[in-house]
């Protein structure tokens, strides 16, 4: 658990331009600034292609910014850091490894204490997300939702201080998606990492996050930053409350009528 209250992630006038100096110049992310406090769950909400994923990849150190600065845990980001956990849109599992070995993959890849990978912790995580009995299954034998559950475990197994998620559930059907939101919520409550979650689903953002940042259409810039007041733990039923739907309506308005 991080000390609450301090700014853990600082994004300062970060921007990304592709093909600078050519006719195909594309401004993917307009200069954007925001911060994420330690232990906070922030959702970054925006329409498809608004640059929110690019922004996240820059924070992960997987994409170089064109201008601006990122600071995580008091240090400037220049390359991927070992203490960040990442989830991508697709589960990105190694097809030839079992669910358990996939969860342990980070220890193999970066040789984090490679001598004794924490098999027990990985197994416990898989049980926690409801994959008891599937530890030895290969990814192709699992459903889409199950694969994403494995990916959650893989992102959490080395106890990262920051969890970055790039539309992790966007490829799943609506029912599975609700399930996955519950799983993620539970895992986050148990582990309390600082989390940044990119999504284009308004309801998902409001349901999961402490704070929602809204990004405009390309070039993406942050046009709204609101706090979500619901107490935790949250059940799926809060989605039917008036207040929930009011917040969703407000956010939808922000996405549709963004000032250019």
């Amino acid at each position: 658990m991080n000390a609450a209250g301090a700014d853990y992630v600082i994004v300062d006038r970060l921007s990304k331009v592709y093909n600078e100096g050519t006719r195909q110049r594309v401004e993917a992310v307009a200069p954007s600034s925001f911060t994420v406090k330690a232990g906070e769950f922030v959702a970054l909400l925006g329409p498809s292609g608004c640059g929110k994923s690019t922004l996240l990849m820059m924070i992960a150190g997987l994409d170089a910014p064109s201008a601006g600065r990122i600071e995580v845990a008091g240090r400037a980001m220049t390359a991927p850091r070992a203490e960040t956990g990442i989830m991508f849109q697709d589960p990105t599992l190694l097809p030839w490894k079992s669910a358990l070995d996939n969860v342990l993959f980070p220890f193999l890849a970066a040789q984090r204490q490679a001598a004794n990978p924490p098999v027990d912790r990985a197994a416990a995580l898989l049980d926690e997300v409801g994959l008891r009995g599937f530890h030895d299954h290969k990814p192709r034998q699992l459903s889409g939702g199950m694969r994403q559950r494995v990916a959650i475990c893989r992102a959490l197994v080395y106890e990262p201080d920051l969890l970055l998620m790039d539309e992790p559930f966007s490829a799943l059907d609506a029912i599975t998606r609700d399930e996955m939101n519950l799983v993620l919520m539970k895992m986050w409550q148990d582990h309390r990492h600082t989390a940044l979650f990119v999504t284009h689903s308004i309801r998902e953002a409001v349901y999961l996050a402490d704070r929602v940042l809204v990004m405009s259409r390309r070039p993406g810039r942050i046009v709204e930053d609101i706090r979500i007041p619901f107490a935790r733990p949250r059940g799926l039923e809060i989605g039917e409350t008036v207040e929930f739907n009011k917040i969703c309506g407000h956010l939808r308005g922000k996405i549709e009528h963004v000032p250019h």
Binding site: A60, G61, L62, A79, P80, R81, A82, T84, I86, F88, Q89, D90, T92, L94, P95, W96, F105, P106, L108, A109, A110, Q111, K138, P139, R140, Q141
Partner: protein, 252 residues
């Protein structure tokens, strides 16, 4: 499904093949073809059993050169493709050249290898290695290239070194592709050795075939070819079994 329906994909082709052989046998017997032109399947079977010692004696060198060449081609093909996967510049420089050489009829280069390495087994080993190399290299390259890019990105996110990314992700991910190349390479390696034996050799099935042709022993030629088909298919089957194992390992 009934048993017959389930066995249909097996029974039909077997029946067809047996029918072909019977037709062949029947035509030869009915029209009394001279054995020199077209021996009947029964003649070939008799030649195969009657000369089995001779044929086997010539099978050994052919098989030895093929397998050794195939093994070397595998090492070189995987090695070069792996090396190129680490350097964009090297890859851009060498890959197009290999693709161009891949297009030319390489078996025709056999005499060149005989000039270089003499008429003994080294030249046959060299030609088998040479023509086996290209499909393996190109398949391996395709495999390394088509590794799921998000897996590579994951490795970067996990701060894995390029070497570990290669060892843990690119190499295992390219295995199914590699085996597609290996299957081609093993058939080509057999062909390379046979052609080299045709051109100049005093051992091997190719030599036996050509010698029998000179003596107009057509039944012995076809018996030797039957043996060649058996070892060719056995090699192919072994590689295919490897492919099946790899695909199973990949959870397919």
């Amino acid at each position: 499904m009934t048993t017959v329906a389930r066995l249909r994909p097996l029974l039909l082709p077997t029946a067809f093949a047996i029918g072909l052989l019977l037709l062949w046998q029947g035509l030869v017997v009915a029209f009394n073809y001279p054995k020199v032109i077209l021996p009947a399947p029964s003649d070939i079977a008799a030649a195969l059993t009657g000369n089995f010692a001779v044929i086997w004696q010539q099978t050994v060198p052919t098989m030895r050169d093929t397998l050794a060449g195939f093994a070397l081609a595998t090492v070189f093909g995987i090695g070069l493709a792996s090396l190129l996967s680490f350097s964009r510049l090297l890859r851009d420089a060498i890959y197009p050249l290999v693709v161009v050489i891949q297009l030319v009829p390489k078996i025709a280069w056999t005499p060149l290898f005989i000039v270089w390495a003499g008429i003994g087994w080294p030249s046959r080993l060299a030609i088998a290695t040479f023509i086996g190399f290209f499909p393996i290299f190109i398949a391996m390259m395709a495999g390394v290239d088509s590794t799921d890019r998000s897996l590579v990105r994951l490795c970067r996110g996990l701060t894995a070194t390029p070497w570990r990314t290669f060892w843990l992700v690119r190499l295992p991910a390219s295995m199914p592709y590699l085996f597609a190349g290996l299957k081609i390479a093993i058939t080509l390696a057999v062909i390379g050795v046979i052609v080299a034996e045709f051109i100049s050799s005093s051992e091997g099935l190719g030599f036996l075939i050509l010698k029998s042709a000179a003596l107009l022993q057509t039944d012995l030629i076809l018996a030797a070819i039957t043996m060649l088909c058996v070892i060719g298919l056995a090699c192919y089957g072994a590689v295919h079994a490897g492919e099946v194992a790899v695909r199973r390992w990949h959870g397919e």
